[in-house]
Amino acid sequence: MTARRKGYEGVVVVAPTTAPYQRFSIKTAHWWIARALGDCLASARIGPRDIDGFSVASFTLFPDTAVGLTQHLGLSVRWLDHVPLGGACGVVALRRAARAVQCGDSTIVACVAGDTNHVDSFRRMLSSFSRFAQDASYPYGAGGPNACFALLTDYYMRTYGARREDFGKICVTQRDNALKNPNAVMKHPLTMDDYLAGRPISDPITLFDCVMPVAGAEAFLVMREEDAIAQNLPHAHILGTIERHNAFSEDVIQTRGGWAMEIDELYAMAACTSQDIDVVNTYDDYPVIVMMQMEDLGFCAKGEAPSFVRDSDFTICGDFPHNTSGGQLSAGQAGAGGGFLGLTEAIRQVTGTAGPTQVDGAKMALVSGFGMINYDRGLCSGAAILSGGDT
């Protein structure tokens, strides 16, 4: 057993911010990050000179990194982080920033993730995503993540009996949720028939299993609880977090993620069980990954996610509110911003500021991240449990 970890007492998360997404943008990642950061600071009623910590996640900043952004955006900070972990960047940025604030290395950390989406951005990114992808997966049909996840989905369906309708239910209910989120890119209802009739992409994956790449950005602030109270800011506590990379490398194909290794630690640190969670925001780049998270985060046993999906209602008013903003499947995937989407929504939920997507009485939320199909599987996984201000 590893050493017992310290909690995050005295540290809070505030000012969840979304720069409304666009399908394509002629702006740069710098512009999107500036926009989200500006809105975030404004909502916390502070200025750029008040933050002394800065954390950035983005795929399209090249040739810049976080440090170039400090000059570009006029920030002078004493703590700086760049988190190139794709869908896990939200949880990872949060837990790093929380320790920085807790230990006094920084007083206020602004965490931002976002990307632009030019007409050709996605195609350009695929061939050079990682060395193993370049060498060993992209040359095989150049299907990108669609093809990689199609293989995982095919295997999962054969092994655990998941049906297309089960994945469809996840997508359809998230669309219902998205219709209540004014920032969601998808504005039209999606029926099961629509889902099943979706254009084939990479069998068994069809159109509505895939996220839509968009331009956009997400942000939040990590600060001391006393400062949040002094500023009268709605704030969320961090009850527990986990992170694990390259878990279960001996598995012949991915059927589980790093959550399964760390899950006991997560609930022990948060001193709760899966039953205590009011809202769950999983990383939903493809519905099969949502099912793996349901299992690995302890909401059902391995292989039982298909029946769990059948027996649960994932809508905002349902018995298992899930991806209440619509998730990436319906709100859009703003590059690295996709790794923040569930987290900003979870902060809103537990602080009672989610507006139209608010789950009644939401006190505790679990958010999980997943990222980086380096070759044949996602390497990064993380999760965090947040609670409202008065816990």
């Binding site: 996605f122 195609r123 695929l126 061939s127 050079s128 060395r131 193993f132 370049q134 060498d135 060993a136 997966s137 992209y138 040359p139 095989y140 049909g141 150049a142 299907g143 990108g144 669609n146 093809a147 990689c148 199609a150 293989l151 995982l152 095919d154 295997y155 054969r158 254009r199 084939p200 992409i201 990479s202 069998d203 068994p204 994956i205 490398s249 012949v252 194909i253 070759y375 044949d376």
Partner: protein, 418 residues
């Protein structure tokens, strides 16, 4: 069951010829080791020198023990297909034009899971055999084949993209006067080539296989003298637009070391045929073939050079001849680079002493026209880049790879042993 390939319809010259595209050719330096193996038809993986762990994808350090000493070794290529997908929409033009395209996850019997192209005759759960092939980008990919016998496996459309199969293709053999021309033409007939053009220089001057060549099915004899730029250009104007496979077997050879000759007359002839002849052919036929690399069932697909293995190291008793072949080997690499964009494969077939009058006093083993011809066709079917035919050529390349400087001394020591 693979649908047998149908003969291509006659080309409509008014229709646009499909432009060649290719899969992604970007690879790390480590991954290029796989391409080197594929060029010779070998299935190899990196193995850790310290802990023997087998690695995939190619990398720079062992994922089991962190050793930085990894060696490419021949590996058992069998496994089980555990998942598949059919890519219906791709971001890459090459695959877009050829979709739907099947790929799958194969768990190898020796451990690693690999993503591979999969043959149409296999289904999930089946035991498969992986082959390491060059795709149209010239880079290596794995292809999962059925282990049980099936009908026309080579006609699978995805498989055909990884090979240079002569079936329904049109071939130019550049030198009818070479004693190997009949055997090569016959091998292409047997492999299903539709037309075999054979170049003939100085037709008025009889040669031993002249009538035999005219007796081979589908052979069309055309005037070609590779030492004459005009002759090459004229023939190119006539048939380069329908040359799918070019086999350059033109060769000028005279025995003798450097001091055995008193002048450079033979050497000039050797350079004219063996080096400049290849260059003339390349400059006339290459640019046209390159444009036709995606032209359907009988697209331009391969360029074959038959070279002496002594292109790699000088055989002093054939010193100037070896030098002309070294020049040809070098320019073949330039040709390969210029054809790379199109996906046309340059295959060099290296032979030791051949069974002909110029090697008459040498003892066996010597390469017969028949075994050379079989190697050419097999190499095309396997999409190879380098082939060493016969015991002497194979022995030579082994020694060269072990230590070229040691081999140079061995060539001196072995001198005149015949």
């Amino acid at each position: 069951m693979t649908e047998p390939l149908k003969p291509p319809p006659k080309k409509n010259p008014q229709r646009r010829t499909r432009a060649p595209t290719r899969p992604s050719h970007f690879r790390s330096r480590a991954a290029l080791g796989l391409a080197a193996a594929a060029g010779e038809g070998r299935f190899m993986l990196q193995v850790c020198d310290r802990c023997t762990a087998i690695q995939y994808p190619p990398r720079d350090a062992c994922s089991a023990c962190l050793s930085i000493d990894l060696s490419w070794k021949d590996a058992k290529p069998t496994g089980t297909l555990i998942a598949e997908t059919t890519v219906q929409t791709s971001t890459n033009t090459y695959f877009r034009e050829r979709s739907p395209w099947r790929v799958g996850t194969v768990v190898m019997d020796i451990g690693p899971s690999v993503i591979a192209h999969i043959h149409g005759d296999i289904t999930v759960g089946e035991h498969v055999r992986l082959v390491n092939r060059l795709d149209r980008s010239g880079q290596a990919v794995f292809f999962a084949m059925p282990v049980h016998g099936t009908d026309n496996p080579e006609d699978d459309l995805q498989m055909r993209e990884m090979t240079c199969d002569p079936k329904f293709r049109r071939v130019l053999i550049t030198d009818g006067r070479n004693p190997n021309s009949v055997a090569i033409a016959e091998a292409f007939v047997k492999a299903g080539a539709s037309i075999i053009f054979v170049g003939e220089s100085e037709a008025w001057r009889p040669y031993p296989n002249q009538s035999a060549l005219r007796g081979v099915d589908n052979v069309e004899i055309l005037p070609l003298d590779v030492t004459d730029t005009n002759s090459v250009q004229v023939l190119s104007g006539e048939i380069s637009g329908k040359t799918d496979i070019l086999v350059n077997n033109a060769r000028f050879i005279r025995p003798g070391g450097l001091f055995d000759r008193r002048d450079v007359v033979f050497a000039q002839q050797e350079i004219e045929v063996n080096y400049l002849g290849l260059m003339r052919l390349a400059q006339s036929f290459g640019p046209v073939m390159r444009e036709r690399a995606a032209d359907g069932t009988n697209s331009a697909v391969s360029w074959v050079n038959i070279l002496s293995a002594y292109a790699w190291t000088n055989e002093p008793d054939f010193g100037p001849f070896s030098a002309s072949n070294a020049a040809a080997l070098s320019i073949s690499q330039a040709l390969r680079a210029d054809l790379a964009d199109s996906g046309i494969r340059v295959m060099n077939v290296y032979v030791g002493p051949t069974e002909d009058e110029w090697h008459q006093p040498l003892p066996p083993p010597k390469v017969t026209p028949g075994s050379l011809a079989r190697a050419v066709v097999t190499g095309l079917r396997d999409g190879l880049e380098e082939q060493f035919v016969g015991d002497i050529a194979e022995d030579l390349i082994k020694r060269w790879r072990d230590n070229p400087k040691v081999l140079e001394r061995e060539m001196i020591a072995n001198r005149g042993r015949a």
